[in-house]
């Protein structure tokens, strides 16, 4: 039994039950419609890729349109619904049906006034269908306080599924809940579901647990210096990476670089864009030398661009699930995750992001999410408070110095790896992303032109110092030369004096000798044996 209010997908679900059974499981089915004619049904489901005519030709499907027109019918006395039984019997027999859908059997109540008979007959009908061994799906309009308007869920109560189409903040979300299912431990939560061009898809997204296996593989980020900062080899595979930054700090560019690198390695990527269209992203990334178009052509990269307000969060989550299942990517980019907040409250986004991260982690998919932080807020706090879910958190920030803005990148955290604590200047060039060392000087961290000018200044200072040193060296050398010259002159003078001294001594000696000889000659001539005068003899002795 499927119940729900108008437009929540009851007929859709019933129709899928029958057609998929016929097409995929070779269980022929009967679809009994009380509301839509055969042709209407056929054209309605054609858009979902079901060709009812083909199924009918192959004897897998029978459609019966039961019209109940009150104005045509006059009730006179006792009657029963044997006619309906006969028709169902005929339809079941004609295809050997294993499945049957009655959509919406309650419209009998609007056509026939004797509800006592109807109730009795319906009870008989459901019992009869059970004995036939066919699985029956009955749709019913939701009533006040009861699951169906006429309370027929009392008769068919093996399994009751309610569908709901709720609108909050102008965004509608379809939800499905199993109210009861005999003989089974069923999930009791409300699960969002989607009706897409491939039919209904429902995923029990809240039943994920925290026991995913981890990988020691590393995924290069596409920026070699960033890999170096991340312990040398990039991110861990299957982790969640958050890129925060104010507007225009290059979050998308970094994400695109990551995607580009992954696609070059031949890994599949899924790019969920909530701000820009596919073509816009591809065009913009060309300006920094990244061409994503070839990857798209090769089927490695898939874009999914949608406005966050296009549908509710649950729908986004489901869409992502579906895309992931279809595309089987290794890397998923969510750009930006904060935009989803416009489609729900912060706590909703938080729970959604958590489930998304859990889901992708469980699949071993590396997730890169960007979030936009408003300039005024604390940069180290994300707007949707998902930082605790994140394994690696890169912060891109503006640094406004000297009348210009420059981008800086640093790693706030990176679980399980020794990461750099340094700020790097982040530059977008026409050859991609470059990370540069920032200038760390007495005046603080400098980037951009300030860094350049500071570097130039430092360079000038250095050369000036070098010149000074050189000059000083020359001076000293000159002085040394002059000193050496002086030394030479003095030495020359000294040796001259030495010679002079020598000569003087020699001359004195000769002189003394001559004196001696003279005196001897004198003494000889005088034959005197007089003793020489003390003064003279002393002087003579000294000279000897």
């Amino acid at each position: 039994m499927i119940c729900g209010s108008a437009g929540c997908g009851k007929t859709q679900l019933a129709m899928e039950f029958i057609t998929r059974g016929a097409r995929d499981f070779h269980e022929p089915g009967v679809f009994v419609s009380f509301e839509e004619t055969e042709d209407e049904l056929k054209s309605n489901v054609k858009s979902l890729g079901f060709d009812l005519d083909d199924l009918i030709r192959r004897g897998l499907l029978a459609i019966d349109y039961v019209a109940v027109e009150r104005s045509e019918i006059e009730e006179t006395g006792e009657y029963d619904l044997e006619g309906l039984f006969v028709r169902l019997q005929h339809a079941i027999d004609s295809v050997g049906a294993k499945r049957i859908a009655l959509d919406t059997i309650e419209s009998l109540f609007s056509g026939l006034s004797n509800t006592a008979i109807l109730r009795a007959e319906l009870r008989r009908l459901f019992r009869w269908l059970k004995t036939k061994g066919v699985t029956t799906v009955i749709t019913g309009e939701r009533g006040d306080g009861t699951l169906t308007r006429q309370g027929i869920e009392e008769y068919v109560s093996d399994c009751v599924v309610t569908l709901d189409h709720r609108v909050t903040d102008q965004l509608s979300t379809r939800r499905l809940r199993i109210v009861k299912y005999r003989g089974s431990t069923h999930g009791t939560n409300e699960y969002p579901f989607l009706i897409t061009d491939s039919g209904i898809s429902v995923l029990p997204v809240t039943s994920l647990s925290l026991n995913h296996s981890v990988s020691n593989d590393r995924v290069p980020s596409g920026v070699p210096r960033l890999d170096t900062m991340l312990g040398g080899r990039g991110f861990y595979r299957g982790t969640s990476i958050l890129l925060t930054g104010t507007a225009g700090t290059g979050k998308s560019s970094l994400a695109a670089t990551f995607v580009d690198a992954a696609c070059r390695r031949g890994e599949k990527c899924l790019y969920l864009a909530f701000e820009e269209s596919q073509d816009q992203i591809i065009r913009n990334m060309r300006s920094i030398g990244i061409d994503l178009q070839p990857h798209v052509r090769r089927g490695l990269l898939r874009f999914h661009a949608s406005r966050p307000t296009f549908y509710g969060l649950e729908m986004h989550l489901l869409t992502i699930h579906m895309l992931v299942q279809q595309h089987q990517p290794k890397i998923v980019i969510v750009d930006p995750v904060t935009d989803l907040a416009s489609g729900g409250s912060v706590s909703d986004v938080h729970s959604m992001a958590m489930r998304l991260v859990d889901y992708l982690k469980g699949k071993g998919i590396t997730t890169l999410m960007t979030t936009l932080t408003s300039g005024a807020g604390n940069l180290e706090q994300t707007e949707v408070n998902i930082s605790s879910l994140i394994d690696t958190w890169l912060l891109l920030r503006d640094m406004e110095v000297g009348g210009e803005r420059n981008r800086g990148l640093y790693i706030l955290k990176s679980r399980g790896m020794a990461h750099s604590n340094q700020i790097r200047e982040f530059r977008l060039t026409d050859r991609g992303i470059e990370l540069l060392d920032v200038y760390l000087g007495p005046e603080g961290v400098l980037t951009g032109s300030a860094r350049l000018s500071q570097e130039a200044k430092a360079h000038a200072d250095e050369s000036e110092r070098r010149e000074n040193a050189h000059r000083r060296q020359l001076e000293i050398e000159a002085e040394r030369k002059s000193l050496a010259a002086q030394i030479a002159a003095i030495e020359a003078k000294m040796s001259l004096q030495g010679e002079e001294l020598h000569e003087l001594a020699a001359r004195e000696a000769r002189h003394a000798q001559m004196l001696e000889m003279d005196r001897a000659a004198m003494a000889q001539s005088r034959r005197a044996d007089a003793v020489p005068t003390p003064g003279r003899s002393r002087a003579a002795a000294k000279k000897r």
Binding site: G77, E78, Y79, D80, L108, L112
Partner: protein, 112 residues
């Protein structure tokens, strides 16, 4: 089995209006010889004899034998009397025990 219990309709002649020269073409759908069906057939015969003597044709269709025919006239309830002619098609369900309602249903009596 298509049991047609028909008395050859004699045309009622109203000179200036050919269209109103109608025959009552009635079809009674039953499913086996249940008491309700038998009662309905009896009631119908009696009623026709009294109110449209000689101008009617009754066709009784047993759905147990002609299951595919139920779809054509959109039969749900049994017994159902279908007035094929005169148009528009009218359906009267039940055992036809309430003669007044049947007459109203067949437009033989104005709705009160």
């Amino acid at each position: 089995m298509k049991k047609t219990s028909a008395s050859k309709p004699s045309k009622r002649s109203i000179a200036n209006d050919e269209e109103s020269a109608v025959e009552w073409d009635l079809r009674l759908y039953i499913a086996g010889r249940t008491p309700k069906c038998v009662a309905a057939f009896g009631n119908l015969q009696k009623l026709c004899r009294e109110h449209m003597a000689g101008q009617y044709r009754i066709e009784v269709i047993d759905l147990l034998e002609n299951t595919q025919l139920a779809k054509g006239d959109q039969i749900l309830a049994i017994p159902t009397l279908v007035r094929k002619l005169p148009e528009p098609i009218k359906k009267i369900i039940g055992d036809l025990s309430n003669t007044e309602r049947v007459l109203v249903g067949l437009d033989l009596r104005p709705r009160s």
